[in-house]
Symmetry: C2
Subunit: 332 residues, 2 copies
């Protein structure tokens, strides 16, 4: 039995979900993977709060102590750029396998992050679309094809708000409040509503699909702030649904990335995406159109993606390739 | 640049598709993966037929010669049990990474095959659902969760026939002929129509999801032979669609596998699967319901899955883990 100690950075919504999932999965993972995960240390903002399943002796609020315990792997769930970026860089420099759910970090520093990870396993399945294994699909499964476009509904909060408005006639502000109460929304909901969360995820997907890190400033972004019940009703009358669509597509030699509210036919795969679900359509030269759909937000689905990466990291020699950046990314 | 020589076993529909895809992908794979694939030898049934892109000097009809050339990797696209099983076993015994699209072999000899592969990379993405990367999803992406059920439309021919009957009123025999002409159908269409092709794929998915190889004889199988235009019309009147549904689900401590024509509501994800598409719904404790949908049959999508496995096999040290059987399977 292999004992793996986790230096956990951040223990908010997803972090607490991971702690619970690890406890619940102990017997299963021991039987299937021959591994037990334990916490080595837990970096938090508020050291006073009690956290179920977390030994208070492991908790620290000092960033400089976050990697000092004997962790075998780092799980970064802080979100945002700092101190996440400093800590992840330090972990990778020490050769510590690292799992992150941090889309802002990837979108902001993806190229440097991948350069820093060279040779060290880096997992980031949880950074895009929560429980939907789209990162794996693009990293490995689609190596056999040339991707033409990636289109999706990538923000659970916006989709929750839009489908609540559309189906129940709930006003915007009230639908947003419901999303916040359900725990889908970002700490700053403007990131969701303004389309920036979707844009960050799109940058990650585009890097995997096309091997290019497009800066966030290169994404055309419009949010759902101005969407009214009237607009949704008019769309419905025409047999269409409104979704916050994010897309990356080749246009000749250029790569174009955009996020905006778009009407789609009612029987379009993206129209079927309801509440906090996410969906991604990948179109390849030979494979045609692939659809991936599932829960894109929430502590439980996202924690499963973190744990899947943790399992990959711990597969001995295999850890490298399983989590190594796609070759296209290494090359660029 | 790494030069990888393929011992190709079988050059029918999918094999020819792979040869064309390799030619088309040469520049892309050289740039992204630093690899060029070449044919070392090609085992075929009919040595007289000319095959585009295949040097006749590499072609053999002798099974005993199929692995004698200096191949770095074996791609088995023969289908059926023999001589595929003998050749794959021999390849694995020699430590040759092997990629197979052979669902019959996996369903019939999965446990022994995985035992034989121990330590040698074995890829089989193309064995289930053509271009849909469901094998990868279940092998790696869902390690973080406990799977409750796997449900899908796994046979493109049956789905093609059912949706043609349903939408155009095409009689059964004529719809089947169209599927055969389009190249989706198995050599023996009774395998498709009788539900056995779907059952074989289901056995593979269940092994990945639950770590148990259920023998084909343990799957309750009903095909679509008796489906009439009248039955489809009655279903449509009730707002339902008929699909050949395959499912593996836990019932207490038992694992239940079945394939049968079932009515699903018109807005159910499986009702949206049309023509030769496949779809798989995976339900997990924490992740909820995930949907994977795409082209499940046809030479081009299936060839992309073979090539994705080939790329994985060639990722140096990583090849082992990337293609190693899921830990649950190693354990069982």
């Amino acid at each position: 039995m292999r004992r793996v100690r986790i230096a956990l950075l951040g223990c908010g919504h997803v972090g607490s979900g991971l702690v619970r999932l690890l406890a619940r999965s102990r017997a299963r993972l021991a039987a299937s993977h021959g591994v037990t995960f334990e916490l080595a240390s837990v970096l938090v903002r508020d050291g006073e709060r009690r956290r179920e399943g977390v030994d208070p002796a492991l908790v620290t609020t000092r960033v400089e102590d976050a990697l000092s315990a004997a962790g075998d792997v780092v799980v970064e769930l802080l979100g945002g750029i700092e101190p996440a970026w400093t800590l992840v860089r330090r972990a990778l420099a020490r050769g510590l396998p690292t799992v992150t759910a941090n889309k802002a970090l990837l979108a902001g520093h993806g190229r440097e992050l991948f350069a820093a990870a060279r040779g060290t396993p880096l997992g980031f399945e949880a950074s895009v679309c929560g429980g939907v294994p789209i990162v794996r699909a693009l990293r490995g499964g689609l190596a056999g094809d040339r991707v033409r476009s990636v289109t999706g509904v990538l923000n659970g909060t916006c989709n929750f708000v839009l489908t609540r408005m559309e189906r129940d006639g709930t006003p915007f502000a009230e639908a947003l409040r419901a999303a916040q109460e359900a725990g889908f929304a970002e700490a700053d909901p403007a990131l969701d509503i303004g389309g920036w969360d979707a844009a960050q995820k799109l940058v990650v997907l585009a890097a995997l699909a096309f091997g290019e890190w497009v800066p966030l400033s290169g994404v055309r972004v419009r949010g759902i702030e101005d969407v009214t019940l009237e607009r949704l009703a008019r769309a419905r009358e025409r047999g269409r649904a409104l979704r916050l669509v994010a897309a990356a597509e080749r246009r000749g030699r250029r790569l174009e990335l955009w996020v905006e509210p778009r009407e789609v036919p009612a029987d379009h795969p993206l129209a079927m995406v309801s509440r906090e679900e996410n969906a991604v359509l990948v179109r390849g030269d030979d494979v045609g159109e692939l659809l991936f759909r599932g829960r894109g937000a929430g502590a439980r689905p996202t924690a499963t993606a973190v744990l899947a990466d943790l399992c990959d990291v711990m597969r001995g020699a295999g850890e490298e390739a399983a989590l190594r950046p796609a070759p296209a990314l290494v090359a660029c």
